[in-house]
């Protein structure tokens, strides 16, 4: 049998430069499973892509409707942005009893219990990452920082939790302002941030969107020379563009057992991009779906098993080991999927995961230490 899995990302719209690698990541997992011929009775898996546009709920709903009713997908990787994800969840997934795992929708509103247990995400929780990033700053002895975030629910949520934690730990956020992605000029934002001052600039945005522009404008005007960032900015493209000497550090979901490194190797072998935002989470989302299907046997019941395969107990599964996991599950065993982003589901389907503190060393992002929530 051939199972179809939907991929609903914003291939057009504001984050279109992020989505192709994300989709590639998800397809990487599907191909791995498909090639193993171990899924149920040797099923193959095909990906069907749809465009969520990231912003237009109506278009996303129509695309999802098409994936479900025409292409007959059995589960969905997606959507990407929180707004369209909610719309698709409520208007398509819930009425059709469809499992959805989003790699990047981080809005806390999605944790509400209207999802009938159908919705999960591999995206790291903004709230936790905010706390960890604040810890990183405090531990480095940085007591004042200016903060700018991308003006969407991800950036806003991240900034809220960071600032709260930072204040509680005795730090001072001199100024907290949003920046809009895709704008032409950020000098006004940067000059306000610079006047407010701070030892470092905390940029909670995307590496190839506004975050890039903010860093560029800061360097160009000499306003800041050190940057603290979150997962959206974890991209070595920054050092390629601004030179290997760029002073940048931050947090990113990472795995203790080097799942991220393994994923990087995997992606490289397949000729895909590994270090763009949310690529690892996308791989994990697709992998989780497939493992849950394997565990349930019936795709319609997969949603009930996502927690089991994600949180264990059982054998730890890293990227590239999906065949092994399928085999274990087939034999009635248990797995604890770790994946590329250290998947750990908490509460109503959020990923807790573990993080690493990274820092640029001569153009390469290197792990300073692993961070786990206390």
């Amino acid at each position: 049998e051939n199972l179809k899995i939907g991929i609903l990302f914003g291939f057009t719209g504001p984050i279109e430069s992020l989505t192709p690698p994300m989709a590639d990541g998800a397809e990487l997992a599907m191909k791995e499973v498909s090639d193993s011929h171990l899924l149920r009775g040797g099923d193959t898996v095909t990906a069907v892509r749809g465009d969520s546009t990231c912003t237009d709920a109506s278009a996303a709903t129509a695309a999802a409707e098409r994936l479900v009713t025409v292409d007959k997908i059995v589960a969905l990787v997606g959507a990407d942005c929180s707004g369209v994800t909610t719309a698709v969840l409520n208007n398509v997934a819930v009425p059709n009893n469809l499992l959805m795992i989003s790699p990047s929708a981080t809005s806390p509103a999605l944790a509400a219990d209207t999802d009938r247990g159908l919705f999960f995400r591999t995206a790291p929780s903004d709230a936790r990452q905010g706390e960890l990033l604040s810890k990183v700053l405090i531990d480095r002895g940085i007591k004042t920082a200016a903060v700018t975030y991308t003006n969407n629910d991800y950036g806003k949520g991240f900034a809220d939790s960071f600032v709260a934690a930072y204040k509680a730990a005795g730090g001072k956020a001199t100024l907290v302002i949003p920046h809009e992605d895709g704008k032409a000029d950020y000098s006004a934002e940067v000059s306000a941030l610079s006047v407010a001052g701070g030892e470092t600039l905390v940029v909670l945005g995307y590496a190839d969107q506004g975050g890039h522009g903010i860093i560029k404008a800061s360097l160009d005007s000499g306003a800041f020379d050190s940057f603290a960032v979150g997962d959206g900015m974890h991209s070595e493209k920054l050092t390629a563009d601004f030179g290997p000497g760029l002073k940048i550090f931050g947090t990113v979901p990472w795995t203790v057992g080097d799942g991220a490194t393994k994923f990087a190797a995997l992606a490289k072998a397949a000729g895909k991009k590994a270090d763009s935002s949310f690529v690892r989470e996308s791989y994990d989302a697709a992998a989780l779906i497939l493992l849950a299907i394997q565990k349930a046997g019936d795709p319609a019941k997969a949603a009930q098993h996502v927690m089991d395969v994600a949180n264990g107990p059982g054998e730890k599964i890293y990227p590239g080991e999906l065949a092994k996991a399928l085999k274990i599950l087939k034999d009635g065993g248990n797995v604890d999927y770790v994946g590329a982003s250290d998947v750990q589901m908490i509460g109503t389907g959020e990923s807790a995961g573990s993080y690493r503190e990274f820092e640029n060393k001569g153009g390469k992002f290197e792990t300073v230490r692993m961070l786990t929530a206390e």
């Binding site: 100024l175 302002i177 006047v195």
Partner: protein
Amino acid sequence: MTDLLNGLIHLTSMLVLPGLAYGSQLAFGALGVTLIFGVLRFSNFAHAEGMSLGTAVCILLTLWLQGKGIALGPLPTALIGMCLAVPVMALVFIGTDRALYQHFRRINARPEVFMIVSAGVMLIMNGAIRLIVGPDGREFEDGERFIVTAGGFRAWSGLAEPLVLKTSQAMTIGLALAVGFALFLFLNRTRSGRSMRAYADNRNLALLSGVDPDRIVRLTWVLVAVLSVTGGVLFGLDKGYRPFVYQQLLLPMFAAAVVGGLGSPLGAIAGSMIVAFSELALTFAWKKALGYLLPAAWAPEGLMQFLSTDYKFAISFLILVVVLLVRPAGLFGKPVK
């Protein structure tokens, strides 16, 4: 004394230079908008896309040149690429005109029709850009990036505040002023320029005076190609090329052209500076500057911002609306009925 100097340097590097650079970048776009409006009588929604496409072409050519080992020393190689991209874009523009706008001119369509068609062209160009370079950003700056660096300036002056001047900024500011003035002279002092204005005014009568309409149209698009490629490339050098960021410039560009008076080149430059500086100055945090410039006792507590940067977009439009209400033809426009 050092306080005063620090204050001035701070203002220069955080307000004046970015304002001038941003204003000049807008000016290239606004000049193009104003020229198309002035001669061909429509507001070209595809203008930003044209700039982006021109830059994309330039980047491809620059990569090719760099591959051949050609460089300009301290100046970016893209300057050569830019010169090569101009004729390409001129052909693209003239081709578009032949395929579309010409027809609408012939049937004497209303200006709104042109605007709508240009919106269609915008989308098609958008697609073309995706095909050529994809949606990702690129850096293509080489040569000497800075004329004055922050560290260099601090070491030289011993002041706390840094001053930075980028090569691309300096080039943009200089070229914008030069090009604007040249355009003004061309339109007012030369036979071709006068023919262009006459053509804009009364097409039929221009024809009856012996103006070759096709030549005027071609000439206009060539000038537009020069303006948009230069502006697009300089902007890309300064901010890093991202194909769809130019769309965001469209609105401020139009605001600038309208504030200055559509059709007037000097107005376009003045309008661009007004838009750029008001955006920056009203959202500028004056705290530091005042701290340096005022006696210590008066140093302000808060950021001293008139408006948070969230609303910086609003400012150019507030200005726009006020200008339109007070002086509907713009600052440099001539009211004629």
